[in-house]
């Protein structure tokens, strides 16, 4: 039996990598990927807790797993919209560098 801490540590590591990549990388595709990475880190944590809670309470607890599906659905929608935006931005500005896409400011 793998202890829950392992899953949580793995989730935390994945999440941190996602955050770091989000902050460091300039290519908007990579940034997008790092968001997916963070989402999946959270999913992993959800599933781990769901399983742990089932063990503790003695019967099946699916709330966490349900949330994972929600996250996946939203992530898929987000990917569709996000990629569309990225393509539109690329067509308009001919670049994928996030630092040069900073028009939304005062």
């Amino acid at each position: 039996m793998v202890p829950i801490a392992c899953y949580l540590v793995l989730g935390a590591i994945l999440f941190s990598i996602g955050v770091a990549a989000f902050l460091i990388k300039r290519n908007i595709i990579t940034v997008f990927l790092s968001i997916e990475l963070m989402l999946n880190a959270v999913n992993l944590t959800f599933v781990a807790f769901s399983r742990r809670w089932s063990q503790v309470s003695g019967h099946l607890q699916v709330n966490g797993q349900l949330f994972v599906f929600f996250v996946m659905v939203v992530a898929a929608a987000e990917a569709a919209v996000g990629l569309a935006i990225i393509i539109a931005v690329f067509r308009a500005r001919n670049t994928l560098n996030v630092d040069s896409i900073d028009l939304m400011k005062l």
């Binding site: 989000f22 902050l23 940034v31 900073d102 939304m104 005062l106």
Partner: protein, 690 residues
């Protein structure tokens, strides 16, 4: 059981006229504006006529309550109207004279640009004046009171492009506000002591407490008096009325002679129950009235502008009305109000006709010899001059004599007050005949008068002083012409009223029955006069004495009337000598008593005194303390500082919004980490524990 009289319609019809002409009049053809305005003043007059026919069958006072206006705890003020003898008299004057002046204005204002505006304001004035007269409580009366002030302001400043007119309007409004302030304080006191502003409730409460004398009633009466002095142009607040002559002449006739300025007299008569309980306040009314009558008359004798002479005359005659009220002879005061409305409106309208004939000239020094050129104006004005000067059997004689007689016999008046009143009557006669001679007799002193000019005549005082030496041809200036009949008609009607108007109050001492006074008695009979009771108690010890005084005094009344007539004749005679027989005399006399002449000519320097004592300090405070320190320093400074601070902080914080996604994410991550750390390590709890 009273039939429904629909009193509320009386003020509302002129208001409808105001709305129609005021909102749409600009686009209306002139004839339609005229029709609306005349209808709006005729219908109330007809309604009042109907009420007069039904009047004897009414149980008085007749009241109408249209519903609640203000309710606050136990206090309430309603839209309620009332009708009694006093109201009826005022209604007749306001609607009757008002309608005549409306007709006259059709001719007088025919060539003005703001024709529709003028009639809209006139109707507005009628609305407020009728509200004032019909109101059943102090608050509704105050609405009318303020409203006539507004209409007066608008009409004085009718030619608002002229600075002097705009300033005169402002002056009238501001001086009136001082009086209104007194009225307001009186109302606050009434609410504090009675918890109501309804006339009937206040008066019946006072009536049921015979022990209430002076005290807070004196305070209320004096504040009401302050309000009356403002509206009725009495000392110390009379200064606005002469300047108000900047307005069109029909306005001077309607508002500043016949109706609005008499509102103060009406108010005192209406609230006489309060004044009756305060000998001090009554004395103040009498003294103020008499002083005003005398001083205004002395100023009137040296004025050269025809309308200003009449303005001071109005102030002086209003002083008589106050004197009448001040000796508790309210019906005498109201009677003089009525006759004065006739002959002073006539004087103003006739003066307007003269001004019209001379294409806007108002200076009597360049008039003269108009008797044959404008005969109808001359004869109607003559009737008015003889009426105001107090020649029997004309209206002014009857009413003025009533006041002087009452002053003589009243314990509140006395022989000294009577003597001053008599001298004032002589002065009145003098300045009126001076005006009469200067305007209508002798040779024409007008130097230039272009016949063609009249087409585009503006009825305004020409600023250029005309040269006094007359050329032969222009002496018979062919531009002078009689006014159209739409103007002369009202003159003739008012002239007839000025002659016969006094007969309804013909004194008992001269074989009459003083019907007017008996008619008004139920509404304004002085009750619970403290000094009277005291005097009676001292003199006779009897309780039934109050009716005893006038009965045995018919000879006295006759004697006093004879004195008045002699004094009026003397005034006429002096004016005749100075301005007809020896026209060079006035200049010589002015040179001889130059100090006195300068004093009168400059109106006792009252305007200058007010300027130094009140206006200059107020302006100083306004311009320096308030404008510079408070407004620019504190108010502007405060708001600007607040604005700049917010702007600066905003600029600082706005840097966070760089538009760079990664910086946003960085902030997000940083603060999420902080929140996480705090919740995990219990940072705040740790700090608090230490």
């Amino acid at each position: 059981m009273n039939a429904d009289l629909h009193l509320w319609l009386i003020p509302l019809v002129p208001f409808a006229g105001f709305l129609v002409n005021g909102l749409l009049g600009r686009r209306f053809p002139k004839a339609l504006v005229t029709t609306v305005a005349l209808m709006a003043s005729l219908i109330p007059a007809l309604q009042v006529a109907v009420i007069v026919t039904k009047f004897s069958s009414l149980t008085l006072p007749y009241g109408e309550n249209l519903g609640a206006w203000i309710r606050s705890g136990a206090f309430h003020a309603d839209f309620s109207f009332q009708l009694d003898q006093l109201t009826l008299v005022m209604l007749c004057v306001v609607t009757g004279v008002g309608f005549l002046i409306h007709i006259y204005s059709v001719g007088y204002m025919a060539e003005e640009d703001g024709y529709w505006r003028f009639f809209a304001y006139m109707n507005l004035f009628l609305f407020f004046m009728l509200t004032l007269v019909l109101a059943e409580n102090f608050l509704l009366m105050f609405v009318g009171w303020e409203g006539v002030g507004l209409a007066s302001y608008l009409l004085i400043g009718f030619w608002f492009t002229r600075d002097s007119a705009a300033n005169a309007g402002k002056k009238a409004f501001i001086v009136n506000r001082i009086g209104d302030f007194g009225f307001l304080l009186a109302m606050f006191l009434l609410i504090a002591h009675f918890g109501t502003l309804s006339f009937s409730e206040v008066f019946s409460r006072i009536g049921s407490h015979p022990a209430w004398q002076g005290g807070f009633l004196t305070a209320i009466a004096l504040f009401l008096l302050l309000g009356a002095t403002g509206k009725s142009a009495q000392i110390p607040l009379y200064v606005w009325l002469p300047d108000a002559m900047e307005g069109p002449t029909p306005v001077s006739a309607l508002i500043h002679a016949a109706t609005m300025v008499t509102a103060g007299v009406y108010m005192i008569a209406r609230t006489h129950v309060i004044f009756d309980r305060s000998p001090f306040a009554l004395g103040a009314v009498a003294i103020i009235g008499l002083a005003t009558a005398f001083f205004a008359a002395t100023i009137g004798i040296v004025q050269t502008d025809i309308k200003r002479v009449l303005a001071y005359s109005t102030v002086s005659q209003l002083g008589y009305m106050f004197l009448g009220c001040g000796v508790a002879a309210y019906s005498a005061g109201i009677f003089h109000l009525v006759t004065h409305a006739f002959f002073k409106a006539l004087l103003f309208l006739a003066a307007g006709s003269v001004i019209h004939a001379l294409s806007g000239e108002q200076d009597m020094r360049v008039m003269g010899g108009l008797r044959t050129k404008i005969p109808v104006t001359f004869w109607t004005m003559t009737a008015a001059v003889f009426a105001i000067s107090g020649f029997p059997p004309l209206a002014g004689f009857v009413s003025k004599d009533e006041i002087l007689y009452q002053t003589f016999v009243s314990p509140n008046g006395g022989k000294i007050l009577w003597a001053v009143g008599l001298i004032t009557a002589g002065l009145t006669s003098f300045y009126m005949f001076r005006l009469w001679y200067l305007t209508f007799f002798g040779e024409s002193r007008a130097a230039v008068n272009d016949a063609d000019e009249h087409g585009a005549a503006v009825h305004a005082r020409s600023d250029t002083k005309l040269v006094l030496e007359a050329e032969p041809q222009s002496g018979h200036s062919h531009g002078v012409h009689e006014s159209p009949w739409v103007m002369l008609g009202p003159l003739v009607i008012l002239a007839i009223l000025s002659i016969i108007g006094g007969w309804m109050g013909w004194p008992e001492g001269l074989g009459g029955n003083n019907w007017f006074s008996h008619f008004l008695e139920p509404a304004v009979k002085a009750v619970h006069l403290p000094y009277e009771q005291a005097a009676v108690a001292l003199a006779t010890g009897a309780a039934n004495a109050p009716n005893a005084s006038p009965a045995g005094n018919k000879q006295l009344e006759l004697l006093l009337a004879l004195c008045s007539v002699l004094v009026a004749l003397a005034g006429w005679f002096v004016a005749h000598v100075m301005y007809f027989a020896k026209p060079e005399l006035p200049a010589k006399m002015a040179a001889q008593v130059s100090a006195l002449y300068a004093l009168l000519r400059n109106k006792y320097w009252v305007d200058e005194l007010y300027g130094v004592v009140i206006v200059t300090p107020v302006l100083f405070v306004a311009r320096w303390l308030l404008a510079v320190l408070v407004e620019r320093g504190i108010i502007d400074g405060g708001t600007l500082t607040a604005g700049y601070t917010a702007q600066g902080l905003g600029a600082l914080v706005a840097r966070i919004q760089s538009g760079n996604i990664r910086s946003y994410a960085g902030w997000l991550a940083l603060f999420a980490a902080i929140v996480l750390a705090v919740s995990y390590f219990g940072w705040t709890a740790h700090l608090l524990a230490r």
